[in-house]
């Protein structure tokens, strides 16, 4: 009889009990692991697909592959081949492979404006056969916000350069418009002189017939001259504004290179400012045109307006 015989009933078959506990725990852990792996698709039949990327930027292993918004696979492997190209292998759930046809394009895009990158595979060409495991698809990168900002910058810059040129170039539209206007007013005066000369050469009665029109012509020439003076006054302010806009643009373009997040909020303001300046220029040119247009018809109407603002415009029995 052993000296230290365990008389406590609780310790009977302790080894067996411990073995069962460890076995159950192990099975539990194994089941949990298996379930997790099933969830992660470890036991799903996957088919490899390949594509060649221009660079590995923004591509990473484990990156999801989506089809019509659903995750159907992931990026398996990124390798650099002997030619320096990035060989990419993605695994696609075999049951979805039949949905993708040859000619499909793998696109790297962002989820949301600043979200993670995902690979999105397109459906392919409709009448072509389904893509097979190990097949090759083409690859492209979607234009991201950064690229979009650069694109906008590339579009806005020439417009503002053109605007700058328009305002500052002596041969530009604004200067030319002013010049044309001055020429126009000079021509108006010359026309008046020609008519005066013509009238001198005919009899006095005829001179009286055309007298009212000549008076109108003189008024038109005066209007043209006053417009020219008005433009001379307003142009320096406009040029100053254009300079300010150009400075703002250069500052903004420097910021553009720093980061998309910093630039994106500034872009609308920059465009707005450019538009405002463009609008002002168009307004100025529009005003010029309006005044020139008004010369067309000043004469017939200048007698219609009432001198008293609270009375109806004058008309007689033959108007």
């Amino acid at each position: 009889m052993p000296l230290l015989e365990d008389k406590d009933e609780r310790f009977k078959n302790l080894f067996g009990k411990s073995a069962i506990f460890i076995l159950v725990a192990t099975i539990g852990i194994a089941l949990a692991f298996i379930l997790v792996e099933i969830k992660h698709g470890a036991f799903t039949a996957m088919s490899p697909i390949h594509f060649v990327a221009d660079s590995g930027t923004d591509l990473r292993e484990g990156m999801p592959v989506k089809f019509s918004g659903f995750k159907i696979g992931k990026l398996n492997q990124l390798t650099l081949d002997e030619l320096g190209n990035v060989q990419v292998e993605v695994s696609i759930d075999t049951k979805y492979l039949g949905l993708i046809r040859q000619g499909a394009v793998m696109t790297l895009k962002k989820e949301g404006v600043i979200g993670d990158g995902v690979l999105e595979i397109s459906r392919g060409v409709e009448n072509k056969p389904a893509l097979k495991a190990g097949g090759l698809v083409s690859f492209k990168r979607e234009v991201g916000l950064e690229q979009a900002v650069v694109d906008v910058k590339n579009r806005v810059m020439p417009i503002l350069d053109e605007l700058y040129d328009t305002l500052h170039n002596p041969q530009g539209d604004v200067h030319q418009t002013l010049k044309n206007l001055r020429q126009f007013s000079t021509e108006m005066l010359e026309t008046r002189e020609r008519i005066d000369r013509m009238l001198d050469s005919v009899d006095g009665t005829l001179n009286q017939d055309i007298g009212p029109m000549l008076e109108s012509l003189r008024k038109s020439a005066d209007s043209a001259a006053s417009l020219s003076e008005s433009l001379d006054r307003e142009l320096p302010d406009l040029l100053l504004k254009a300079d300010e806009t150009m400075d703002s643009l250069h500052k903004a373009s420097e910021t553009l290179n720093d980061s998309v997040q910093q630039t994106a909020p500034q872009l609308p303001g920059m465009i707005e400012e450019a538009n405002a300046t463009l609008g002002k220029t168009q307004g100025l040119v529009g005003d010029t045109q309006e005044v020139v247009d008004s010369l067309n018809s000043t004469w017939p109407f200048n007698k219609n307006a009432s001198k008293h603002d609270d009375e109806p415009i004058r008309m007689d029995s033959h108007d």
């Binding site: 008519i195 055309i210 009212p212 109108s216 247009d293 067309n296 018809s297 000043t298 007689d316 033959h318």
Partner: protein, 270 residues
């Protein structure tokens, strides 16, 4: 007792004075006046569409202020602009809104002006019967001393002439042409009607004199289209009088006036 009454009276006056606020022009009224000035300026410059937009804005502002008289004036102005834009239906509709309103809330003077203008526009469109009806409304609204009386008479003479009632047209036109109160413009119109009537009655010498008188006034006023009409009338009458060379000369002058008008118009469009 008297002191108490005096105190109460003073208190009442004081409270009344505190309660009344000085009359200020509302911002809508100021905006309407500014827009009206702008629209009239646009019309003066021949920018009809801009004037039309401006007067529309004025009308909205005036109606928001319940400015009945101002609204009627602006509607007449809108009709005038529409007429110049050749939007005849729109012009007549604006005027009908004043003339046909029942019960009529607009001042009589503006009803008269609207009916008169409607009649002129209808006469321009050769809708003589309707012009006559509208003129009758204007005549009914005009008492003997109304400022438009002589203008209405000239229009009446014009309608009579268009209706072939030449003698009555001549009689009425002669009456107005000799009345300086009609104003130079209406006097010249009356002289032209008288001359045309006399031409139709084969009274060529008198017709020539009246066309000549109308020409002098139209020259002074600078109405070139009317100058051309006078010269053409003189040419027709001179021909009837057997003065072929003179007729040719007047025709040539009329042609030069019309051509000058055309050239001014085309040169300013370049």
């Amino acid at each position: 007792m008297i002191r108490r009454l005096l105190f109460l009276t003073l208190a009442f006056i004081g409270l009344t004075a505190c309660g009344s606020t000085p009359e200020t022009r509302s911002s809508e009224m100021v905006q309407a006046q500014e827009a009206d000035k702008e629209a009239r300026r646009a019309l003066r410059d021949g920018q009809l569409l801009r004037a039309q937009r401006g007067f529309n804005k004025v009308l909205v502002l005036q109606q928001s202020q319940d400015n009945v008289s101002g609204s009627a004036t602006t509607m007449v102005n809108l009709a005038t602009v529409a007429h110049q834009l050749k939007e005849h239906d729109a012009a007549l509709t604006w005027l009908d809104r004043i003339v046909m309103e029942n019960p009529n809330i607009y001042p009589v003077e503006l009803q008269l002006i609207a009916a008169f203008r409607k009649s002129v526009m209808l006469a321009d469109l050769s809708r003589i019967g309707e012009a006559d009806s509208s003129l009758k409304i204007a005549e009914r609204l005009c008492d003997k001393s109304c400022t438009q009386k002589l203008g209405l008479d000239v229009l009446r003479a014009r309608l009579l002439l268009l209706n072939g009632n030449i003698k009555d047209a001549l009689s009425l036109a002669q009456t107005v042409s000799s009345n300086s109160a009609a104003g130079m413009s209406e006097q010249a119109n009356a002289l032209r009607i008288a001359a045309t009537s006399e031409e139709k009655l084969a009274r060529y010498e008198e017709a020539f004199q009246h066309f000549e008188a109308a020409l002098e006034t139209d020259k002074a006023l600078g109405f070139s289209e009317r100058i051309a009409a006078d010269l053409n009338g003189m040419a027709r009458v001179a021909k009837q009088l057997g003065n072929e060379r003179e007729a040719e000369e007047y025709s040539k002058r009329a042609l030069i006036v019309q051509e000058s008008l055309r050239q001014i118009d085309s040169s300013s469009r370049k």
